[in-house]
Amino acid sequence: MNIYSPTDTPEFNSGQSYDIAIIGAGPAGMSAAVTAAEAGASVVVLDDKPKAGGQIYRNVTNSPLTQPELLGEDYLKGAALVEAFEKSSTEHIHAANVWHVGDNGEVLFSRDGGTQSLTARELIVSGGAMERPFPIPGWHLPGVMSAGSAQVMLKSDGLVRDDAVFVGTGPLLYLIVAQYLRLGVPVKALVDTTPKSAYLDAMAEVGGALSATSMLRKGLLLLNEIRQAGVPVYRFASDLQITGNSAVTGLKFTSGNEGRQLEAEHIFLHQGVIPNLNLTRAMGLEHHWCDQQLCWKPTLNRWGQSSLDTIAVAGDGSGIVGADGASVMGKLAALNQLQRLGQISADSRDQQAQPLFRELERLNKFRRFIDRLYRPIKAHRIPESDDTVVCRCEERTVADLKRGFELGANGPQDLKGMTRCGMGPCQGRQCGHTVSELLAQWRGISVAEVGYYRLRSPMRLLNLTELGQFSRVEPKPSTTGAAS
């Protein structure tokens, strides 16, 4: 065994920096990288996956499926972006788990069994979204999974589950069911929780704009496709309850004023996506509560610049914008940072940005419509029954939290100290929004006033051996040309 002396601290934080480091190689990160590299900046992109693509374009260029086109047009569109990204002068460090980003431009990540560090003058965080937790009775039981995880299994490993019940709302849910069916996997049922009123509210929101109608049609077409495949679709479902003691046995719910019960060994839940906050929260960026999307978001200016001026956030990690919106935001963030680095003029930045801002504006109209239509209902966000689990890592229920609250824990951070809710390995990803909303309800104040957990690095788990092995990554000479 190696015996290190305690004074043997690794050389750290010295040497060459990148112009721009980008975290996440999804549409936002890849587009930012292409834009920045084209202008001559030295760019590094860190992503935890073996291949570029992000959530939506996962494995688009090396799918384990024999007919990836069955996953749909939107999926294949990503191939072009991935190719442009791979051709650019960007340095892509894949299989890199970023676990610390400092306000001094320091980025630490685990890779190859060790910790590597690099520094960059500017940073773009494009870590994407995660699925909104769905805290209903029984959601913690083995056999329950999020629909997105089911999709990841499909895209990465070609793994599927027969006879699953899909539950929830949102375009992604329908898409995943359709993707399953196109591959010939039997689906037991789709239990759709979108309330009837949401359709009316959504139409009112956009006054029947053409774009929105086509969006609505896209969703209804998917629903139709699912029905025509012979899958029972239960609409306007409520009062969800997953049954089972040590594993899932089925689902109880109400639909069409009728109590129903389905037997199932696999239940896939989904009610939309929210920004994955662990990166931006741990970096100490300012956040605010967004009522339209019912989630916390980093507070940004129109270029995606955060409360720390050297850090921009782009894509679904900034608020849900979709793959196209993510791409546009990535480009805008890159343009602004190029200007800050002195590599393009403000005029050139503004000129290139103009069509991008217009595009974003257009996409935002869609987004308002989708947000309205697929707004997750209160009962599925704020658990009502005492024994519903809120924090899955530490197995804390509504009743446990209530007790902590009654003992005087008023905010998420106090409640964490008192009950351990949010202290587990997911770092609060699965319970943070629920806790903010629960406390707001109990205290009769707004979620914004309640706040969120204080998070800090590491934002990803790493082991002691990885932490103990330090090395430093610097720009390759060929990519530093423009930096000098």
């Binding site: 770092q427 788990l461 002691l464």
Partner: protein
């Protein structure tokens, strides 16, 4: 403007302030505690929870032993759950030099008639810690030590104090401090607070309060760092330290392992912030794995640091002001003050109500560093 009067005004809602408030309030003294952030926000809420007598400076042993006795009955006394667990604490000797250090310490302690620290050989070390690395040669054990949950413990004192009528005012910082006649007047962002006695329990900020009272003190502050792993299979019951290496850890009942060892990050007390020094964390990680190879694959779940006050001799200041009447200090615990909380509260209450203490507090005088000759 609020105008709040009480017999005693305590500045600082850490464990020392809360324990002092509790011990005063239960004797019927009216107490107000001012806390600029919230109770247990700083060192007292985020420390490693180590409750140890082992390895204390001889000046502290009497206080520390008395505090230890209190810890063993604290849940009952405060009618709360502090998370206290009695555990043996073992400091590991990595080589013969360490054993020599321990033998000298043993001679010193026996000379003072202290017998709570017991040396153990390699075989006994292995029996008590089956997963210890083979190169470790022995160690020293104290059977009466343990750990508690810092946030819960500090809060337990606060709640008990409140039951006896103590008032806690959070989010209010003491700013200007004056003495008019027999009254201390403390101006805050939310009005004035008055009291006959003023107690400085303001942790890493205590030098600022001391100066306003009239006492200079060579206090520094720093940010010791900690990390905790996800749950691991049970492998260590005793709390573990090392004689000459920066290593200390404890495995909790839920399997998580808290690793400390004294490595310090960067402290920014003006902004209530700390920054971690990851390169030093890396050294801590290597040390842990070197002593306990089983930890090689342990996952780090969280890392943090707290703001702590240090005196040049690593001993606290406990006692009266030398330049003002009815002003009292308890701060500068130099990274081992959590264990002292229960007894410090008693001592402060004694001092305030009777002017004296049953302990010899000479080593803790605030003016002990003042040069007698210029």
């Amino acid at each position: 403007m609020k105008n709040a009067n009480s017999d005693v005004l305590i500045i600082g809602g850490g464990i020392q302030g809360c324990s002092t408030a509790y011990n005063l309030a239960r004797q019927g003294v009216s107490v107000t505690v001012l806390e600029k952030d919230w109770v247990s926000r700083h060192a007292s809420g985020v420390n490693a929870g180590g409750v140890r007598v082992l390895g204390r400076d001889v000046a502290e042993v009497e206080l520390s032993k008395a505090s230890m006795e209190l810890w063993h009955g604290l849940d009952d006394e405060l009618d709360a759950d502090t998370g206290f667990r009695a555990r043996s604490l073992i400091n590991i000797a990595a080589d013969e030099n360490d054993m020599e250090t321990l033998r000298k310490r043993e001679a010193l302690m026996h000379g003072l008639d202290y017998h709570h620290e017991k040396m153990i050989d390699q075989q006994e070390l292995r029996e008590r810690l089956p997963h210890v690395a083979p190169h470790c040669v022995g160690g020293v054990v104290s059977e009466q030590d343990g750990y508690a949950i810092p946030y819960q413990s500090t809060l337990a004192f606060r709640r008990a104090a409140e039951r006896f009528g103590a008032k806690f005012v959070e989010g209010v910082a003491a700013q200007r401090i004056r003495k008019i006649g027999q009254q201390w007047l403390v101006e805050t962002n939310q009005g004035r607070f008055e009291a006959e006695h003023l107690v400085n329990c303001s942790g890493a900020w205590a030098d600022q309060i001391a100066v306003k009272i009239g006492d200079n003190v060579p206090l520094t502050h720093s940010a010791p760092m900690l990390m905790i792993t996800t749950r691991m299979p049970h492998f260590a019951t005793p709390v573990v330290g090392a004689v000459s290496r920066p290593l200390s850890f404890k495995q909790f009942e839920n399997g998580t392992v808290l690793i400390g060892g004294g490595a310090k990050g960067f402290a920014d007390r003006e902004n209530n912030r700390t920054r971690l020094d990851y390169a030093k964390m890396a050294v801590g990680a290597r040390n842990a794995v070197e002593f306990f190879p089983i930890m090689a694959t342990a996952s780090v779940n969280r890392m943090w640091a707290g703001l702590e006050a240090y005196m040049p001799d690593n001993l606290p200041v406990i006692g009266g002001s030398v330049n003002a009447d009815n002003a009292w200090h308890a701060f500068g615990f130099s990274a081992h003050g959590f264990q002292m909380g229960p007894i410090v509260g008693q001592v402060m209450a004694e001092l305030i109500t009777t002017g004296r203490s049953r302990f010899d507090l000479n080593k803790f005088r605030i003016d002990r560093f003042e040069r007698k000759v210029l």
